[in-house]
Each structure stands twice: as C-alpha cells, then as structure tokens.
C-alpha cells in the first residue's frame, strides 16, 4: 500500500469516528437532564415560569422530535455551521467565541508541550547517560512523582507557592520577577509581536503550562532515558566508539538523533491529551480558554456551543492522530501501515 492510499484510508476512517463522536455528544446533552431553556429562564418562582419555559423550548426547537433535532444538529456541524450560543454567551456566534477563547488555550497548550520537551528530554538523556548513578535515580524519581501528581492539586499548590514567593526569584517574588504580571489570569496575546508583550504573555502562561505539561514531562523523561539506554547498547555505537568518534560527538549526533525518533509520536499524542486536559488548569489559573468555555457550556446545557466545541475537539484529535501516523511512517519506515 503506498502512502497516499494509506492517507486516504485514514481520512476515510476518520469520518465515521467523527460521526460517532458527535452523535455521542448529542446523545449525552439532549437525552440527559440538562435543559438549556431552564438555564435561560433562571430561578423564577412564578406562575409564568412554566409557560416561559415552554415558549423558550419552542423557540430553541427543543420540542421537535428528537430525530429532527439530531438531523439538524449533524447537518449543521458537517456543513460547518456551528451556530450561536444559547446560554453562556447568548446570541454570540460559536465561531467568534472560538476565535476569542481559542488562542489562549493554544498558547497554553503550546507551552505545555514545549516545557516538557525542553526540560523532560534533556533530563532524561542526562539520566540515561549516567545510568544507575544517584543523579540518574534523582532524575528518574522526579519524573515518576511528576507524573503521579494530579494536575488540579499541583496547580493549587503551585499557585499558593507563587503567591508566597516573596523571597524567591532574586528576592522579588514571582509577580515582579523580570516583568510585572499577575499570578492568575489570562495572558494578553494582542501584542505578542513586541518583545515585551511576548515576555509578558509567556511569563503569564508559564505556571499553568508547567502544570499542564507536568505529566508529559515525567513521561518524556522516562522515555528519553530508556531510548538513550537502548541506543547506547546498540552495536553501532560501539563501532563508532571503536573507530574513535569522540564521546561528545557520539552523544550529539548518534545518540540524540536516534533517541528522538520514538519520542516524536509521543509528543504529538501528548498534544492530544492536552486538548481535553486544560479545563482543570484553566479553572484554577483563571485562564478563560476553551476548557472553561466548554465546562460552562456543558453545565448550562448550551447545546450549540458544547456540541460545536466537541466537534472541533474531535476534529483536532483526529487530525493529530492522522498526523502522528504519517509522521511515524515517515520517520521510521520499518513500521508497517497495518500495525498501527
């Protein structure tokens, strides 16, 4: 099977996945006890509450037969007509809400992928090169504990530590370290172009990204350590060492490059976990991103918003999956198309 055909097959397979996923979302919201009309009416203790409830239900089309609602929902989604929010941001287009909330989550996700890559992998390689020493144990155990920490708890603890960090960070405390920012709150992404804006936005997101990426950091540390170990034990390293390649060069060129190969798909698959994982971190750090938006939409029964967000999430994860498969086959042709 050639690559193009394989790609085509993956994309074709993605369609039923998308259908199944969005259908599940619809079923969960519409067949459960959530009632967006009640959320709109509010806690009204009056004779007219019931009538108003019915009127709003009629308005929103909640009284139509369920299959009609479903057909409408699916057609709208698959024609990329994502509709308007009902409850959380009434009257606003889902697309514009996505455009407003999305960048913050993407910014968070980006750093949550980068931090583990830049901290976890070097630490793992360091541990792998110093295998079975105290340094190795220290690094490995750190990685394992990182992984075991619940994000929400780590977030809460980190927040408490940072807000009490007066003596750390060159005696200035986190808030005024390098540049004045608040510990909690959404980063301002409007002036990313300027160096100051970039530093501010980055510093603002770092604690949250650190938490969100903590599990990945542990994972990558472990994996890169193992990868280095495996490659060090390979024959060609011995050979290279025998022909007099310097250790530094050896590590730099052979070990690192080869160790990176199995890591790349891990990183992409982590990007996909982050998509769904951001809600807890966003709640604690007060970042009004997609995660918070989804949570609010979900609890308020805001079907168009929650459904559309889910649709986008699924689309995103399916894309990442496909990309990962393609990357895999590109990097390591030994892996068959069928196996994965």
């Amino acid at each position: 099977m050639n690559r193009l055909l394989y790609l085509l097959k993956r994309i074709l397979l993605a369609i039923p996945v998308l259908l199944l996923g969005t259908t599940a979302t619809f079923a969960i919201i519409r067949l459960g006890p959530l009632n967006p009309a009640a959320a709109i009416v509010g806690p009204v203790n009056s004779a007219q509450a019931q009538e108003r409830l019915e009127r709003i239900e009629e308005q929103l089309g909640l009284n139509d037969p369920i299959h009609v609602q479903y057909a409408e929902y699916i057609t709208d989604l698959f024609t990329f007509d994502l509709g308007q929010s009902w409850v959380v941001y009434p009257g606003q287009d889902t697309v514009s809400l996505l455009a407003q909330f999305g960048p913050r989550t993407i910014w968070l996700g980006l750093w949550a992928v980068l931090i583990p890559v830049f901290i976890g992998i070097p630490l793992g390689i360091y541990a792998g090169l110093n295998v079975n020493t105290n340094r190795d144990y220290a690094a490995s155990i750190t990685g394992i504990v990182w992984r075991a920490m619940p994000n929400f708890w780590l977030a809460v603890i980190l927040l408490a530590l940072l807000s009490r960090s007066d003596t750390l960070f060159l005696g200035s405390g986190w808030e005024s370290f390098i540049i004045e920012t608040e510990i909690v709150g959404a980063p301002d992404l409007s002036s990313l172009g300027t160096p100051e804006g970039f530093v501010t936005a980055t510093k603002q997101i770092l604690p949250a990204a650190f938490v969100l990426g903590s599990a990945s950091m542990g994972n990558e540390l472990r994996l890169s350590r193992t990868a280095v170990l495996e490659i060090i034990n390979e024959d060609f390293i011995d050979t290279a060492q025998a022909v007099g390649v310097s250790r530094r060069r050896l590590i730099g060129k052979h070990v690192l490059r080869n160790a990176m190969i199995p890591l790349i798909p891990v990183i992409t698959s982590e990007a996909y976990i982050l998509v769904g994982g951001s809600v807890l971190v966003e709640v604690v750090f007060g970042i009004n991103g997609i995660g918070t938006l989804f949570f609010d939409a979900m609890t308020a029964g805001d079907l168009p918003l929650a459904g559309s967000l889910m649709f986008v999430f699924i689309l995103l994860t399916v894309c990442i999956n496909i990309m990962q498969d393609i990357l895999y086959t590109l990097i390591d042709p030994r892996i068959g198309y069928e196996e994965r």
């Binding site: 006890p33 967006p36 806690p43 409830l53 308005q59 514009s96 007060g286 938006l293």
Partner: protein, 621 residues
C-alpha cells in the same frame, strides 16, 4: 405574581399638574435598579447563584488603581461578562457593566430610597393613578451621539415586551406593576397561552420630549419600576429584533460588544470573557464621574482577588469568605438603612483598610415542594435547625439569620419590628434549635428510628460550594437525628430549575433579591396559586387560605395611600405567619454586601442592595 386584575382601561381622567420629581405622594419608596445582589435580576428570580456566590467567591468586585495608565483609571474584577442588553437576565459582572452604560428615568439617591429624577425634568400622575406623563431632559444623548427622545422609550419598552431576545418582559407585563397591553392566544406545545400582542403596549410618545405611560392598575411603587434597569432606553432601531426595525447593528454586536445607552460611561473595548473597559462619556449630562476609565477584568479565583489586594495594587477590594476574620472588624458608624462603616485590620500586609457593609435586600431560603414533603417533616426540619449556625458557619457571621420572607430593611416597621416579631412569634425556635420538639413532631406523625423519612436536598453545582455545602451539611446532620435521611444532591443550576418546575424535587436552595422595597416582592411567592414552586395548593390548610386571603387584601390595596399601606402591612404579617404555620420554607439568611478600600481612594458608601453598583463616585486622593 398576580394575574392581570382587569383589562379595562377605563377612568383615564388625566391631570397634568406637574410635580417635582420624587415629590409624589407615595409611601415607602425604594429603588429597584436590579442591584448587584440579584445579578441575574428579573421578575422574582432567585439570584442565589448571584449573590451567594458573589459573597462566597470573595465578591464581584475588587478594584484597583491603575497607576500605570495615568491618574484616574479604576480597575475592577468582575466574575463574568457576557451580555449587556438591558432586557436580558444578567450575571453579576454583566450587570455592573450594564449599570455603568445604561441609565433610567429615575434613580436612587445616595443614602436614601426615594427615587429621584434622572432622565426627566418633570412628571405627573393622573388622578386614578394610572397614567404617568414624563417630560424628558433635552440635554441627554446616547453614546452614539443621538439625542434621547420619547420615541426611544417606546422602542426600548416594546423590545422589552416583544423581542425574542427579551427575558425581562414580565417586569412590565405581569405582577403588580403592569403597563397596559393586550394579549393574544398562542398555542405552544399543544397548550394555549396568553402572550403579549406586539405593538399594544400603552406607551406613547406625545412629542419628542414627552412620554406617556398607562398602567394596568395603580401601583404604589411604580417609580421604582421606572428606575429598574430593564427599562433603560436604547436608541430607537438599534437592533432589529422587533417588528418594523431592521437594526443598525447585529444583535450579538449590540449585546456583547457595543451596547449603547445614556449612562455615565461608554464601552471602550470588550474582550469576551476576559476584559471590559468603559470610559467616561464626554459632556455627560449628569455629574461628571470620578474615574476617567474603568477597566473590568473577569477574575473568578478568590485567591487572586485577595492577593492583588494584599499586594496593594488594588485600592478597592473584597476579602473572600475564606480569608475573612470577623475579629478584625470594628464598626464606627451605622447609618439609617443599616449601612455600617468602619475599619478592618490589620491585614496580612499590616495595613488597616476601610470597611463597609450594607443590606442586600435579599432572602435566601430552602424551598419545600409541599406536594412531596409532608408538613410534619417540614416543621421538624424547621425546629431542628438554628439559623444562627448557617450565618456563623457559612458566612462567618456576616448576614442576618432569616425568619421572615421580607428582609429587615423592607419589613413593615423595619429591623426592630422584624426582630421583635420573630422573637415573639417564630414557632420553631428563635435563634435556637429545638431538636426535642422536632422529634416529637416526627413521632406524632408516625416516624421513628425504624421508620425514617427520606428526602433529597438539591444544591446548585457551584465550583466552590463552600458555604452552601457547609449549611447543607448542618441540615443533613440535624435531620439525621430527627428520623430524616436527607440526601444532598448537586446538579447544574438549570437542571435544578427544570426539575423544580416539573415538580421532581423535594427541597432545594432558592433566594430572591428584591426589586423594589416592599415585602410584596417576596411574598408574592408565599401563597397558594397555580404554578407556585412550593405547590402549597396541593397541600391546602387554614394557613394556606389565610395567605391567599391576605394576598387578596394586598391586591385590593395597591393605591399609594396611607390607608392602603396600613392594610398591606397587616396582610404581609399575616402571610408571614401563615408561611410559618405550614413551614413551606426553611429560611436561611439575609446576606449583607461588603466592600473594603484603602485610604488612597474615597469610596461613597453603598446604600443598599436596591442601588446600582456604580463606581462613578470613587474619587482619588
């Protein structure tokens, strides 16, 4: 809320004697500006979500002196910012934005509850109390530069009544205060309903500067309704959501990006869900506001709000409940409407801040579905709890234990009469629990250790359910010892309402912020009628009849006279006692609003929960 009493519009003998605004012979006036306490204000909505959360989460606003941007920039933290349309039910944050951008015919003055003119120079009432004629100020312009005319009101109120986007239509179409209108029959979901007939509202622009409004029936507190947020004018034709208008802008743009009103501030920029910046209107017709700009950040995290305050990059702030230490409060002054002013400190940063607290005009209670929970159980629960524990454990002693439906400020005779009446007459133990009595009641009803009753208490599913969890836990623990297995259930707010309307809940949290300072606004729910969530009609008794009769008395005495007021007051107390007798509620507490500020700024004292939450009066030292 009452059904329309009559549809006739007879007896409109009109008199056009102009009286100075606010001088009208009404009694017990107070404002109804959809104050912050019931953020999602609307006809009798329970801002449980709003107020309780507000205070629990450390409140809807801290504010900060934006020193970086020059002098007069005030920055606030608000809990959310979504939709600023006056005709929508809003959350606390959106309400604050809306309060700054929009203004109404009347307003409540600092320190008092008598509505004063804001957008009118003069007004008159016809002899029969039905027709109000307003002469508008001619120097008022909207933020977009248009002059305010009577036609704008016709449009705005038609929107309130007829627009699909409106959620507050009942403020003028139902209840004691009603603007005359016609209804038409519409079939919704197989049932016939009376709905508003578009275009039939009795609001008329006599000329550019004269507005005439005819009420369905005389109402003593009508001026408050003309000061109510939903009745704010918007420029005619700004959105096309009623017949005859195409709209100058999209609804989404108007409601969430660019609301246009006559208030002291106009929208500068909106970043949805993150930040709203408003700036003072040039050449504002009223008193020039203090801060040139108010920047409102959406912040929910209590710790963040507190941290900002402690770092002193904030001048006006709230201390979240979890940090509040009652022993640090010292009150220096108590004002007429029980506003208290004093100091709080030392804070963590060794500063001592100014502190004020005011009555929110709000009653929080647990509501029983009488058709599902029988009277002995309701009474026993009332016996078993001590409301003082609720305030103490849930809110660290800030607030008043509630015994009546009417909050102390509006109770006939005020706080003293409230306390006295409760102490002498509350049957279930005033400031004490009577577990023995509770057990007796249950035993007499046939319950015991081996035949326990079981009910479910439903709570809103907040993210930080601190106070209510603790209060619910207190009730559950008490219930356990009086043969009641009380299960605590959490559900999203909308599910609770939906289930409550469908009659699937036993007992759940509710609360009401008053819109005008009369017990009527609370007690309209405390009587047997079709559609009442208490479902008192389905468990009739002498008491329910007493309540119904008393309500009838109130309805027959809505005129703005002393005699009518006396009759109403007596009827209110009868209703309160009938409610006690059948124990249809388990009252919780009356919250108090709180605000802290450092000496750098001067913050006017918030008068009551009826007042707008405005920061235009803040001045910088």
């Amino acid at each position: 809320m009452s059904e329309p009493d009559n549809d006739s519009q007879t007896g409109q003998s009109r008199r056009t004697i102009l009286k100075s605004a606010g001088g009208v012979a009404t009694v017990a006036l107070a404002g109804c500006l959809g104050g912050d306490d019931d953020g999602d204000s609307g006809g009798g909505n329970g801002g449980e979500n709003g107020s309780e959360n507000g205070s629990e989460n450390g409140g809807e606003n801290g504010s900060e002196n934006g020193t970086s941007n020059g002098s007069n920039v005030l920055s606030l933290s608000i809990p959310e910012a979504a939709n600023f349309d006056p005709v929508r039910i809003k959350g606390d944050g959106s309400q604050i934005v809306s309060d700054h951008v929009f203004s109404e015919l009347f307003t409540l003055p600092q320190g008092g509850l008598e509505p004063t003119a804001q957008l009118v120079t003069d007004y008159s009432v016809s002899d029969d109390g039905l027709t109000y004629t307003f002469t508008l100020r001619d120097d008022v312009t909207f933020d977009n530069g248009d002059q305010l005319t009577a036609q704008d009101f016709v449009y705005s109120w038609e929107r309130l009544a007829a627009s699909d986007n409106s959620q507050e239509g009942e403020t003028i179409l139902e209840g004691g205060f009603q603007i005359a209108h016609e209804t038409t029959t519409e079939t919704v979901d197989g049932e016939e309903q009376e709905v508003y007939q578009p275009g039939s509202l009795a609001v008329e622009a006599v000329d550019e500067g004269t507005l005439e409004v005819t009420l369905e029936s005389p109402f003593y507190d009508a001026l408050f309704w003309f000061a109510y947020g939903s009745l704010s004018p918007v420029p005619e034709g700004v959105v096309g959501d009623i017949e005859g208008y195409d709209g100058e802008m999209d609804y989404a743009e108007f409601s969430s990006q660019n609301p246009v009103g006559t208030g002291p501030y106009e929208i500068d920029s909106v970043e949805t869900g993150t930040e709203v910046v408003v700036s003072a209107v040039d050449g504002y017709h009223g008193e020039a506001p203090g801060p040139d700009q108010i920047s409102m950040q959406v912040v929910e995290n209590t710790d963040a709000i507190f941290r900002r305050a402690m770092n002193r990059n904030v001048d006006v702030f709230q201390v979240p409940n979890s940090r509040f230490d009652p022993s640090k409060v010292s009150i220096n002054e108590t004002r007429e409407l029980s506003q208290k002013v004093g100091t709080y400190g030392p804070l963590e940063n060794d500063e001592t801040a100014n502190y004020m607290t005011w009555d929110e005009a709000y009653t929080a209670y647990f509501i029983f579905d009488c058709s599902r929970v029988e009277k002995p159980i309701r009474q026993a629960l009332n016996y078993a709890v001590n409301q003082e524990n609720f305030v103490e454990q849930g809110f660290r002693g800030v607030g008043e234990p509630a015994y009546h439906q009417a909050p102390p400020t509006v109770y006939p005779g005020g706080k003293e009469a409230y306390d006295q009446h409760a102490e002498e007459n509350f049957p279930y133990g005033y400031r004490e629990a009577q577990v023995g009595q509770a057990q007796t009641v249950m035993e007499e009803a046939g319950y015991g250790e081996n035949s326990r009753a079981s009910i479910t208490l439903s709570l809103y599913n907040d993210r930080n359910p601190d106070a209510y969890s603790r209060i619910a836990e207190l009730i559950r623990a008490k219930a356990e010892s009086i043969y009641i297995d009380l299960e605590i259930e959490r559900a999203p707010f909308n599910t609770i309402i939906d289930e409550a309307v469908s009659g699937n809940l036993d007992m759940y949290t509710l609360g009401n912020g008053l819109e005008y300072p009369s017990p009527q606004d609370m007690l309209k729910f405390g009587r047997p009628y079709e559609g009442n969530l208490v479902r008192w009609r389905e468990d009739p008794s002498d008491a329910s009849e007493q309540a119904a009769n008393a309500w009838e008395t109130v309805q027959n005495n809505l005129e703005p006279t002393d005699a009518a007021q006396q009759a109403r007051s007596e009827a209110y107390i009868q209703m309160e006692e009938a409610i006690w007798q059948d124990a249809i509620y388990l009252t919780n507490y009356h919250p108090r609003g709180r605000q802290w500020w450092y000496d750098d700024v001067d913050v006017p004292v918030q008068t009551s929960g009826f007042h707008d939450r405005l920061f235009d009066g803040v001045s910088f030292e």
